[in-house]
């Protein structure tokens, strides 16, 4: 993306940002939102107009320790937030890979609907965001949700904006639910070179009542791993129980107490600097098929076993080869959609990164876009159906 050539503005507060949007809408100028600028995803060509950076919207407005909530401006870096919350024995259970320079912001992660291994236990960004303030292209600042974890007043616009890639408006502030940070961790690891055995082991753990904090799989260079992480005062005991269960499923099982590196690798596996990453929204019972597809493509797979989500990372290759490899993966895994995340612009220009059919849902999405951003000012062209 040629974003460095764009004129750039850094609003100092939400009101500034809303006014900037209004002015650009009136002048017919597209606005490109940037948090940590770590995710150049979506349709290629989203490089015209003006760039709006949220880097000055970086205030942790409230940390309500007793209520386990926080009010965060969109530009707060996830890493700085995590350090602050760690001191209080708490965490925001949103752990996507943080991108180049660990620059990912809370607003960017929410807008992209990104997630990491903790999603297994704590849900996606949309499940952790209690409220939101958004700047719309008519210059208004609208709030939805609240500071309490239970609230059904009004429409849940916070969910609508989560994962909307800035195409409806700019997220200026989010209110999030926090969780206690468990003191101890242990991971049960099962290894096998047979995708079918890997799937059976993963399904056995997913159906079990042991409450894992994360339940991941990995396929790399002919070997598969299933990883079940437990947290809290009984972490080691639970991991031992999971190890027994894995052993009974026919995989080589062990327990790892110093497990941080394993999980860093799982998060890193969701990104690729030079190759391409396809995120497959599949089903847990498709895991073996996904591993076979990754194997055939010489790719690495990381996934959330109980959620059916996989990130398949294809190694760097010429654009035409990557395009072909992506098409092959999609064909194999259809009807599960495979969204292209990281990929060179030349690759994203030659395919639909979203893999979304022209159906009645897309018609409805266009209607939503037309109501919230009738001037098509906010990140136009990068989202599903060219929204």
């Amino acid at each position: 993306m040629a974003t460095e050539t764009l004129r750039s503005e850094t609003p100092q507060d939400a009101e500034d940002a809303a006014e900037l949007l209004r002015a650009c809408a009136a002048d017919g100028i597209a606005v490109r939102f940037a948090g940590g600028a770590t995710k150049a995803w979506g349709h290629a060509g989203g490089d015209d107009g003006l760039r709006l950076c949220t880097s000055a919207l970086d205030t942790i407005v409230e940390h309500n320790r007793g209520d386990l909530t926080a009010v965060l401006q969109a530009g707060v870096p996830l890493r700085a937030l995590d350090e602050l919350l760690a001191d209080a024995g708490q965490m925001l259970a949103l752990d996507p890979p943080l991108g180049a320079g660990d620059a990912a912001t809370v607003g960017g992660a929410v807008a992209a609907g990104d997630s990491g291994p903790l999603r297994h236990r704590y849900g996606a960004a949309r499940d952790l965001v209690l409220g939101m303030t958004v700047a719309l292209s008519d210059g208004s600042l609208a709030r939805a949700g609240s500071k309490v974890i239970k609230n059904v007043a009004g429409y849940d616009l916070a969910k609508l904006f989560s994962g909307s890639f800035g195409t409806l408006g700019l997220i200026t502030e989010v209110i999030v639910r926090l969780h206690p940070r468990p003191p101890d961790h242990a991971t049960a690891v099962g290894a096998t070179d047979d995708p079918a055995v890997l799937q059976d082991a993963a399904l056995a753990l997913a159906a079990n009542s042991l409450e894992a904090q994360a339940l991941d799989v990995r396929w790399e260079a002919g070997e598969g791993l299933v990883l079940a992480r437990f947290a809290g005062i009984a972490a080691t005991e639970q991991a031992a129980a999971a190890e027994r269960l894995l052993g009974a499923s026919g995989v080589q099982a062990r327990t790892v107490e110093e497990d941080a590196a394993l999980w860093t690798a799982q998060r890193t596996g969701q990104r690729s600097a030079k190759g391409a990453v396809v995120r497959v929204s599949g089903r847990p019972t498709q895991l073996a098929e996904s591993c076979e597809a990754a194997k055939a493509a010489g790719a690495t797979l990381v996934g959330r076993a109980a959620l059916g989500l996989s990130w398949i990372a294809l190694p760097a290759a010429a654009p035409a080869e990557l395009v072909q490899a992506i098409a092959g993966l999609r064909d194999t895994l259809r009807p599960s959609p495979g969204v292209v995340l990281d990929a060179p612009a030349a690759v994203r220009a030659q395919l639909d990164p979203w893999d979304h059919p022209e159906d009645s849902a897309l018609v409805l999405m266009r209607r939503v876009k037309a109501r919230f951003d009738p001037t098509a000012t906010c990140n136009p062209g990068i989202f599903v159906g060219g929204i």
Partner: protein, 501 residues
């Protein structure tokens, strides 16, 4: 469920672009779609549907239709769209905010005949159901290995379709979340009769999270005809206890300590003296009636985690001054504790002839402060207010008791002031009952004009003619402007937010 007897007849809504009367032609069409036996028009039949669980509002629909399939729902909605007649979807009619209150002379679409479980897929942790399936039936269909966590008190009768519309919660949502955290797929019919599939068994399908927008939209964005839900494996161990305290503030301190120690109970519920007395009269579980508060704590999870944490909870309750702690030794004792809690609303009818239930939410740490203000308000009004809380998530259900018709207005006023206290404390006017008609006048307490305008954008994208459940949620009727073209350049041409009163 007993409720106030004061009845407000709601006049015909006048907010759709061009509401049309229910003509004989439309009735004939509805009969052709659903069969004559499933289109009700006799006054005596219609009376059943005049109110939902909130009895102080009544409106008589022109017809009640009982479609038996998704195709019939679609055709009914299409017929209404063609005729320009507004309609309201209704599940079991157990809602507590008037969300399923009919539009006078409009069509009421009751999904009570659509009660089939379409698919159970345990390996993928999913169930697909029709909207009339009850909440309890879902858990029964997936047991004993799995369960469906959202468990509103009305779970035996309430429908999943209604749960989706209201984003229902329940006692276990502090740990497990709400309906919106469990719906992964919906088949919906928009007010123009278009069928749209949102999500599926898979998560993170590309595009806007329209599932998140639809769940909790109180029937104003369309009607769902099939629902895919996420299921959870049943916990290895469940431990339940009830601790009694001399005051709600001491019980509240225990709640704060439990949560701040990192314990995430499956449920943590509080009842005050008045509600304990009422519930005890109804179910005789042997709760002492001279205490200030009862705190029910349920832990679930792995056996090892559960046992370790349960000792922590008992210790915290003792330290916070619990006068007595009872631990359920078996399922029967556990059920007795829960029966007392879930009977609380219905049982209030035994201590007061009429009451208003409120549904405010506050940040948990504001509990002592807010309770003191509610007590002061109750004294000011000279009325009794019972309190039941989902204590973990700060959801209060104050029950404002009153004696006769003449007190109804003051009771309603007191209820409204309690909601204002909740919002001032940083909370919400409703945690799980919804806005419906009952709380829409309080919406401006919580939301400013730009917020409401943004809500209207969503409403207009789904239902520009305002045919689906008009007159709910938004505080004042609004019209949608022209559907703007996606690349129109002039903001001034954009929708005019007309208001008609």
């Amino acid at each position: 469920m007993p409720g106030p007897t004061r009845l407000v007849t709601v006049p015909a809504q006048t907010i759709t672009t061009d509401p049309a009367p229910l003509t004989p032609e439309l009735l004939a069409r509805l009969r052709a779609i659903c069969g004559p036996a499933h289109v009700l028009t006799e006054p005596i039949q219609l009376r059943t549907y005049e109110s939902d669980g909130l009895l102080q509002y009544r409106a008589t629909p022109g017809a009640v239709v009982l479609p038996g399939s998704a195709t019939e729902v679609r055709d009914v909605v299409r017929a209404c769209a063609t005729a320009g007649v507004p309609w309201v979807a209704r599940g079991a009619g157990s809602g507590l905010s008037g969300g399923a209150l009919p539009v006078a002379e409009g069509v009421l679409i009751a999904v009570t005949r659509m009660r089939r479980v379409l698919e159970v897929d345990l390996p993928n942790g999913r169930i697909v159901v029709q909207p009339g399936v009850t909440n309890t039936e879902v858990s029964l269909a997936v047991g004993p290995t799995h369960f469906y966590p959202p468990d509103p008190s009305s779970q035996i009768v309430c429908s999943i379709g209604g749960n989706v519309a209201e984003n229902s919660g329940g006692a276990h949502c502090f740990k497990y979340g709400f309906t919106t955290n469990y719906v992964t797929g919906l088949e919906i019919v928009l007010a123009d009769g278009e069928v749209v599939t949102l999500g599926g068994k898979e998560v993170d399908r590309p595009g806007y999270d329209l599932l998140g927008a639809f769940v909790g939209s109180e029937g104003t964005l369309g009607i769902c005809t099939a629902i895919t839900l996420r299921l959870i494996p049943v916990a290895e161990a469940t431990e339940t206890m009830v601790a009694f305290f001399d005051s709600t503030s001491h019980a509240g301190e225990a709640v704060s300590e439990i949560v701040s120690e990192g314990v995430v109970p499956g449920a943590i519920e509080m009842m005050d003296t008045l509600t304990i007395q009422a519930a005890e009269e109804a179910v005789h579980a042997g709760f002492p009636t001279d205490v200030g508060a009862a705190l029910i704590v349920e832990l679930d999870g792995s056996r090892a985690e559960c046992d370790a944490r349960f000792d922590d909870v008992v210790r915290i309750c003792e330290r916070s001054g619990a006068s007595e702690i009872r631990i359920a030794r078996d399922d029967a004792e556990r059920m007795a504790i829960w029966k007392t809690r879930k009977a609380a609303f219905a049982a209030m009818g035994r201590v007061a002839p009429h009451y208003y239930v409120q549904d405010g939410v506050i940040p948990r740490t504001k509990l002592p402060e807010v309770l003191a203000r509610i007590t002061a308000l109750a004294e000011e009004y000279g009325m009794r207010v019972g309190n039941v809380f989902h204590a973990g998530d700060g959801n209060l259900h104050p029950l404002v008791c009153y004696e006769g018709e003449e007190e109804a207005e003051r009771a309603e006023e007191l209820s409204g002031r309690i909601l204002e206290v909740c919002v001032e404390a940083g909370g919400s006017i409703t945690g799980e009952h919804g806005i419906g008609v009952d709380k829409k006048r309080h919406m401006p307490t919580m939301f400013a004009e730009p917020d409401l305008a943004a809500f209207q954008h969503l409403r207009c994208a789904f239902d520009p003619r305002g045919l689906a459940n008009p007159g709910k949620v938004m505080p004042t009727p609004r019209l949608c402007g022209e559907v703007p073209g996606p690349y129109r350049q002039h903001p001034l041409e954009r929708e005019g937010i007309a208001e008609r009163f």
